[in-house]
């Protein structure tokens, strides 16, 4: 009697392990499917013409995504200019002031900000910028993306700076270096790899965002570098073409997906390399 129940328990144990491994491996399937689709459909479309020319009017064959690439870059630049300085400062603040009511609420606010659905942020940028300015614009899109990038940068800055031992700060202060200089010239450089990683990951996050751009940057078939006018972007292009009824446009959309995925994956890889090579050891 005793032996059988042990046998049963061992069986259950083995089955469970098999189940867990099975389920874990099934996860790999969607990823392969998605990547397969993107690569198979996308790669046939990619050529220099694709990357460098503008989209043709609806229904015409051919065309490219050059304006979407440029637009994505413009949006990323605007978002970075806004969010990096503010985000780094907030990160410094949170790492210097660990206790207290303001830091607590500040952190809480950032957590909530990070969880806000991206489309809601799009509406906010619409209310704050599109309405006063009067048109859709790259600026409003950039602001929306900046709001999304901010929590990422703050959190990685804070985490990085928290890992830097206090004795480093003290060594600098003991040399008579004033506090602001100590932070800017000793503490920040020591945490630079982490901060840069955070920025790269923040960019990776916003590069693929579409929802906040739907009614801010809005998209455009033209090449534009005017930040007060609508601008195209890779994710917007994918959305518009994918939901259109023309197979030609679908093909272009796969190409754009390919470019986008390559970009985001490269950013993630670069972030990992930055951490490995530049990280300061204590």
């Amino acid at each position: 009697m005793k032996e059988r129940s042990v046998y049963k328990r061992i069986l259950v144990d083995r089955l469970f392990k098999a189940l867990v491994i099975c389920l874990s491996c099934i996860i790999i399937l969607p990823m392969f499917f998605i990547l397969y689709f993107i690569v198979r459909n996308g790669i046939s479309v990619i050529n220099w013409g694709f990357l460098l020319s503008l989209p043709k009017p609806m229904g015409e064959a051919g065309g490219g995504i050059s304006n979407a690439i440029v637009g994505t870059v413009i949006l990323i630049v605007i978002a970075s200019i806004i969010s990096i300085p503010i985000g780094t400062l907030i990160g410094i603040y949170l790492s210097e002031y660990k206790r207290g009511r303001f830091p607590y609420f500040s952190r809480l606010s950032l957590e909530i900000l990070q969880g806000i659905p991206s489309i809601v942020i799009g509406i906010i940028a619409y209310i704050w910028i599109v309405v006063p300015v009067g048109t859709f614009s790259a600026l409003s899109g950039g602001v929306a993306l900046a709001i999304m990038m901010l929590p990422v940068i703050v959190m990685s800055t804070e985490e990085t700076l928290k890992l830097i031992p206090d004795t480093l700060k003290e060594a600098s202060l003991a040399l008579g270096v004033p506090y602001p200089r100590t932070i800017l010239k000793v503490v920040l450089p020591a945490g630079l790899s982490g901060i840069v990683t955070g920025i790269i990951l923040g960019v990776a996050r916003i590069a693929g965002e579409t929802a906040p751009l739907l009614f801010t940057a809005f998209g455009s078939p033209f090449m534009s570098t005017n930040i007060f006018k609508p601008v195209s972007s890779l994710p917007l292009l994918v959305f518009n073409y994918a939901t259109s009824p023309y197979p030609d446009l679908h093909a272009l959309a796969w190409g754009a997906c390919f470019v986008l995925i390559v970009f985001i994956l490269s950013l993630n890889l670069i972030a990992k390399m930055v951490t490995r090579r530049w990280k300061v050891q204590f």
Binding site: P165, T167, L168, E170, A171, S172, L173, A174, L175, G176, V177, P178, R181, T182, K185, V186, P189, A190, L192, V280, Q281, F282
Partner: protein, 252 residues
């Protein structure tokens, strides 16, 4: 020049409602090594961190009384200036990890934006590293980052960094407690040499070390200055019973 470089008058310090040291009256003599010893928790680190006004950086820190350097109250001066006149070396070596050895030594100048010619920088680097007895070992790797050095070498680098500012007083907070005996011996030799150019106040846990290298010894117990005098006298004929008990290991 007077022989007393630092004087504390009825000095006390602590945190919020907790007084860590009180009524300290001490006179430190120029170009001598003064050891501050006492059991854990007696307040010696708190006290020494008041001298270069690092103590006040902790939220809730309090202090009372005066500390005079060359007859001027350090609390009447800008804290930045105090810290440039009084250098500090910490318990655990803490060279700046993003800077080369060369840059570490002149960090005090670089960080403060004090512009000096390259020739002068080279001179300061060599001189400070010589004084810290590290020059010979690193002169060919000045532009490498300091993290490859051993613990003892890193600590000497920190000493060189503090010396590069030409301080009047050098505070050493248990500088050898994280080092092995050989490195400790090196640093002790170094400290004895250094007193010719700078006044040294050293906090130590290590009674034999205090006996070996210091000229004067102050014994702190439970926040009070129990005894102070020339090392020989304090160690051979202590006036206070508690000093005697501490020296003979009755409590640690």
């Amino acid at each position: 020049m007077e022989s007393t470089v630092l004087k504390t008058e009825d000095f006390g310090a602590g945190f919020e409602d907790n007084e860590v040291v009180r009524s300290i009256n001490l006179s430190i003599e120029r170009n001598k090594i003064t050891a501050i010893m006492g059991p854990s928790g007696c307040g010696k680190t708190t006290f020494i961190r008041c001298i270069n006004r690092m103590h006040e950086l902790v939220p809730g820190a309090t202090s009372s009384g005066k500390i005079l350097i060359d007859n001027e109250n350090i609390y009447d001066m800008d804290a930045i200036i105090v810290r440039r006149k009084i250098g500090m070396v910490f318990q655990r070596p803490n060279p700046f990890p993003t800077m080369s050895i060369y840059d570490n030594v002149v960090a005090g100048y670089n960080l403060n934006g004090i512009a000096i010619t390259k020739a002068d920088k080279d001179r300061i680097v060599e001189e400070s590293l010589q004084k810290a007895a590290l020059w010979a070992e690193v002169k060919n790797s000045l532009h490498r980052k300091g993290t490859f050095l051993s613990g003892g070498q890193q600590q000497r680098l920190c000493i060189a960094r503090a010396l590069a500012m030409y301080p009047e007083i050098l505070l050493l907070d248990e500088p050898t407690s994280a080092l092995d005996p050989k490195a400790t011996a090196h640093i002790e030799e170094l400290v004895v040499e250094l007193k010719n150019s700078v006044t040294i106040i050293q906090v130590t846990h290590n009674i034999p070390q205090a006996a070996r290298i210091s000229d004067f010894t102050a014994f702190l117990y439970l926040g009070e200055l129990v005894e102070f005098g020339p090392t020989e006298k304090v160690f051979t004929v202590p006036r206070d019973k508690r000093t005697e008990q501490y020296l003979t290991g009755k409590f640690g």
